[in-house]
């Protein structure tokens, strides 16, 4: 059995909090499938980084941020739905990434390698997670307005284009945070399943955010521990625990007819 150091566990917990919060707003924006597809764009970034002999996560971050800006630009310049744009562009990205990356590197990129993190990775991770959590907490009301109606948001004086870009960047950073633990193939799941579970159980928006964060934390901590205990990949185990939470929530009394 192997175990992760406390600092790595703490970072995984911070990543889970960020995923639970950002994912809840993705559910509001009806872009949960986008979370899954956008995570794939990290793969070509990792492939290019390996070719250039730079840190794979740096390549992933550059690719994800580029992907987020691309979505933002296409959304405002075309009349295609976000889901369509992301589905086309980022499925292609996964194909290109698979061509650039080979063998074990590809498996690591797809499913994650939660090995000991370097000092730089830890600091960058905590700064990224802190920035995402702070953004959601500070911009919560403006995000609600924008996802309620972008036209209402404009009359309230919100710069919808800028807020939309900031949200997508926070979304991309959250995916990057989870690549070590879940990999590009499964990170999107940690931003979909906890909010979907919370939607079943919550009675208001605040409790939805809290339950989403709690489920993401439980899945990450319990899944990570079980994976280490039985020497399995952490990503599939974390997603399995989250899926168990979701199926248990189906047995609960429905609160909104959702």
């Amino acid at each position: 059995m192997t175990s992760l150091p406390v600092s790595s566990l703490a970072l995984s917990a911070a990543m889970a909090v960020a995923a639970g919060l950002i994912g809840s707003f993705a559910l509001m924006r009806r872009m949960t499938l986008a979370a899954d597809a956008l995570s794939h764009v990290a793969v070509p970034g990792i492939g290019v980084a390996i070719l250039l002999r730079v840190h794979p996560l740096a390549g992933a971050v550059v690719a994800l941020v580029t992907g987020a800006v691309l979505i933002w630009a296409l959304e405002s310049r075309t009349r295609l739905a976000t889901e369509t744009i992301i589905g086309v562009v980022f499925s292609a990205a996964l194909a290109v990434g698979a061509l650039l990356t080979t063998g074990e590197e590809l498996m690591d990129a797809l499913f994650g390698t939660p090995s000991t993190l370097s000092q730089v990775e830890l600091i960058a991770g905590f700064v990224g997670a802190g920035a995402v959590i702070l953004f959601v907490l500070l911009a919560r009301d403006r995000l609600i307005m924008m996802f309620l109606s972008s036209d209402i948001a404009r009359t309230v004086g919100i710069n919808v284009r800028r807020l939309s870009l900031l949200y997508l960047l926070a979304f991309a950073v959250t995916i990057a945070l989870g690549l070590r633990y879940l990999g590009a193939l499964l990170m999107g799941s940690l931003m979909i399943i906890p909010p979907a579970t919370a939607r079943r159980l919550a009675r208001n928006l605040t409790s939805m955010l809290a339950i989403s964060v709690a489920v993401a934390l439980i899945a990450t901590i319990v899944g990570g521990w079980v994976a280490a205990r039985f020497d399995r990949e952490s990503g599939p185990m974390i997603v399995s625990v989250a899926a168990v939470c979701f199926f248990l929530s189906l047995a609960s009394r429905r609160t909104s007819g959702a």
Binding site: S149, T155, T255, G257
Partner: protein
């Protein structure tokens, strides 16, 4: 002493083009302060596009000049939000109240103005009737103390008692000095409540006092077919 403007909004030569299609062409009209303007026209005539141009949500040519100090409350026909989410009336109103930096008690006052009981705050928006939800959205718009309300078909999909309550709410707000711009398919509401009417269609636009401009001939041109019309003996208040 500055002269108080007579009009809440003045629109000159407004045109909107979406892609290759010209939706609105060379519209000019003005809305006096504390009056009500009803916008009518068949589906696809550009009524919602007009509202979106007025709030600056879509590019347009021509000018839209709001009176200085105008605060706009906008109630769209459709929301982007999935109504099945666990979102309560309180969630929506609190978020708007915090953004407006509105004082405590403003939520209760807004609910009273639209005739909703405070227990609406604890209900999920997905469980509200169409009429309750529309009045909640009007209360939401009132939190920032708007001088102008833009209502995009507030009674669409609402049962008759709900429509009456919404109409009473709109009329009361107008008597309180709020300028109301209203998209409506209900011509009886236009005759009863509107100070002026703007009719939009592909071929014909008209603007003026409902009883003067909404003749059977004009309505037939606007809607492309004869429109049955019963005018009750009531005037706008």
């Amino acid at each position: 002493m500055p002269v108080k403007p007579a009009n809440a909004v003045e629109v000159d030569h407004l045109s909107v083009r979406l892609g290759d299609v010209e939706i609105l062409r060379d519209l000019s009209f003005s809305v006096p302060l504390a009056s009500s303007l009803a916008v009518i026209g068949p589906n696809g005539s550009g009524k919602t596009v007009l509202f979106r141009a007025l709030i600056g949500a879509i590019p347009h040519t021509g000018s839209v000049r709001w009176a200085p100090g105008t605060r706009i409350g906008y109630v769209p026909q459709k929301l982007d939000l999935d109504r099945d989410l666990p979102v309560t009336g309180r969630d929506l109103l609190l978020a708007r109240m915090r953004l407006a930096s509105a004082p405590p008690g403003v939520i209760e006052r807004a609910l009273t103005r639209v005739g909703l009981a405070p227990d609406i705050l604890n209900k999920l928006v997905g469980t509200l009737s169409g009429g309750q939800f529309q009045r909640l959205l009007v209360a939401f718009a009132l939190l920032a103390d708007p001088t102008v309300l833009l209502l995009d078909e507030p009674t669409a999909g609402v049962d008759e008692p709900g429509q009456e309550r919404m109409n009473d709410t709109v009329r009361r707000l107008q008597t309180e000095g709020v300028t109301v711009l209203l998209i409506s398919h209900d011509l009886s509401v236009v005759f009863r409540f509107a100070t002026n009417v703007l009719c939009l269609s592909r071929e014909h636009t008209c603007f003026g006092i409902p009883r003067q401009v909404l003749t059977p001939e004009i309505l037939a041109e606007v809607y492309g077919e004869p429109v049955g019309l019963i005018v009750h003996d009531q005037s706008p208040g």
